[in-house]
């Protein structure tokens, strides 16, 4: 393979990946759907604040803000061991959001690195 074809193949690979990302972005809606409940969490040295929350079933928008901790930079919502949604790299002063549609049940909010890493998210019937 000569150099030109190597470069071409790299560029082709790049375009392919870009296309993949464009598709991925199109299919996942990051904007909160109509009528979504909003839950706000702060990341602190202690963990997620509030640690426990309750919300009715349906679309939920999670707003996460780092309130000045360097220990916790990540927020996750788990169903058992499975991560349903998360936000990474939220350093001090950063904020981010994501949306999930949750059914009735008990979930975990996870702020790795905090003193109390895990909290409970209770989703009640509509």
């Amino acid at each position: 393979m000569n150099r030109v074809s190597v470069r071409l193949s790299l560029i082709a690979l790049g375009i392919g990946l870009a296309a993949l990302f464009a598709t991925a972005c199109g299919s996942s809606s990051d904007n909160a759907p109509e009528g979504a409940e909003t839950l706000s969490f702060k990341l602190t040295d202690e963990g997620c604040d509030p640690a426990d929350a309750t919300v009715p079933a349906g679309p939920v928008s999670f707003e996460v803000e780092n309130a000045g901790t360097s220990k916790v930079t990540e927020f996750e919502v788990l169903d058992g061991a499975e991560i349903l949604g998360e936000k990474e790299n939220l350093s001090s002063g950063f904020s981010g959001d994501f949306s999930l549609t949750l059914e009735e049940g008990t979930y975990t909010v996870y702020c790795p690195g905090g003193e109390n890493e895990r909290g409970t998210l209770t989703v009640t019937a509509k």
């Binding site: 393979m1 150099r3 190597v6 470069r7 790299l10 560029i11 690979l13 790049g14 990946l17 870009a18 993949l20 990302f21 991925a24 972005c25 996942s28 990051d30 780092n66 901790t69 360097s70 220990k71 916790v72 930079t73 058992g80 061991a81 499975e82 991560i83 949604g85 998360e86 936000k87 990474e88 790299n89 350093s91 001090s92 002063g93 950063f94 904020s95 981010g96 994501f98 790795p112 690195g113």
Partner: protein, 286 residues
């Protein structure tokens, strides 16, 4: 400034390390042609990452987290394969480097192998690049104190770059045999870390949910939010609280590979001596 610094350092140092070792390796092998291809690939990857981050920001979309983690997992596993191949190749040729230094035939690297290394450098940058670019833009535009956050992120990325350059410089200077023994061992831990990180990102991609119990508490060593913690996570894939799955795969890979790299030459030679006469023609440079 420190919070963004440690994140940019952690995200940048892994790619910097891999690119630095590949660059030193290609220089050692006198493959200037492949080195130029490698830099072209790295430049394309950086441009691509910045491009994607800017487009996402312009259209007001966020990086799809699951897809990003999935991409990191796939590239991570490709990287483990490539790095393992490098380790085995180095080990196999460790003896012939002395001959190479004495001016006889250099160890030839097949065209396919250099292409694989070029591709590996490209993928290594791409792997963390999207997330890093998005983070850098956020540091400059969204943070509550954009000056401190932006400065921290830039310093962190420059520090990651400096580590890569340091490894490259050091790698070029020391002699071949030592280069391969030292980098061989470093690469074992880098690859083990990549495997463990792939287990981690596979979980975050929603592909793997088993063995998620906490295996160890390494927070005394890998302190979250510190520079040393970032380096340990970025370079060796160590998590502050590794899960059972991550710890198992790390040890399962690192232990036999470390023995393979460190096993004394003399013992190998004694054991291989009868077989060498038969295999010698096959080992001659392609």
């Amino acid at each position: 400034m420190i919070p963004t610094l440690v994140i940019a350092l952690r995200e940048g140092v892994e790619a910097s390390l891999i690119v630095g070792i590949i660059a030193a390796f290609l220089v050692k092998e006198s493959r200037g042609d492949a080195l130029r291809q490698m830099w072209a690939g790295v430049a394309v990857a950086i441009a691509l990452c910045i491009g994607v981050a800017v487009v996402l920001r312009v259209v007001g979309q966020q990086l799809p987290q699951r897809e990003q983690e999935g991409l990191e997992t796939v590239i991570g596993l490709v990287a483990v394969t490539a790095v393992s191949y490098m380790i085995v190749w180095m080990r196999r040729h460790a003896r012939s480097f002395k001959a190479a230094l004495e001016g006889s035939a250099a160890t030839a690297l097949a065209a396919g192998s250099t292409l694989a290394l070029v591709a590996m450098a490209f993928l290594a940058v791409l792997r963390e690049g999207f997330e890093t670019s998005v983070f850098m833009l956020a540091a400059f535009q969204d943070a509550s104190d954009t000056t401190a956050a932006g400065a921290g992120a830039v310093v962190g990325l420059l520090a990651a770059l400096a580590i890569g350059i340091g490894i490259y410089r050091g790698g070029v200077r020391i002699n071949l045999a030592r280069f391969f023994r030292v980098t061989g061992l470093i690469l074992v831990f880098v690859a083990a870390g990549l495997l463990a990180t792939s287990v981690h990102t596979a979980h975050e991609a929603g592909w793997f949910n088993g063995l998620q119990g906490q295996a160890l508490d390494l927070t005394w060593l890998v302190q979250p939010g510190t520079i040393s913690g970032s380096l340990l996570t970025g370079m060796l894939g160590l998590q502050p609280t590794p899960t059972v799955g991550e710890a198992l795969i790390y040890v399962a890979y690192a232990a036999p590979m470390a023995v393979y790299v460190l096993w004394p030459d003399r013992l190998r030679r004694l054991r291989q001596a009868p077989a060498r006469a038969r295999t010698a023609p096959a080992e001659s440079p392609a």
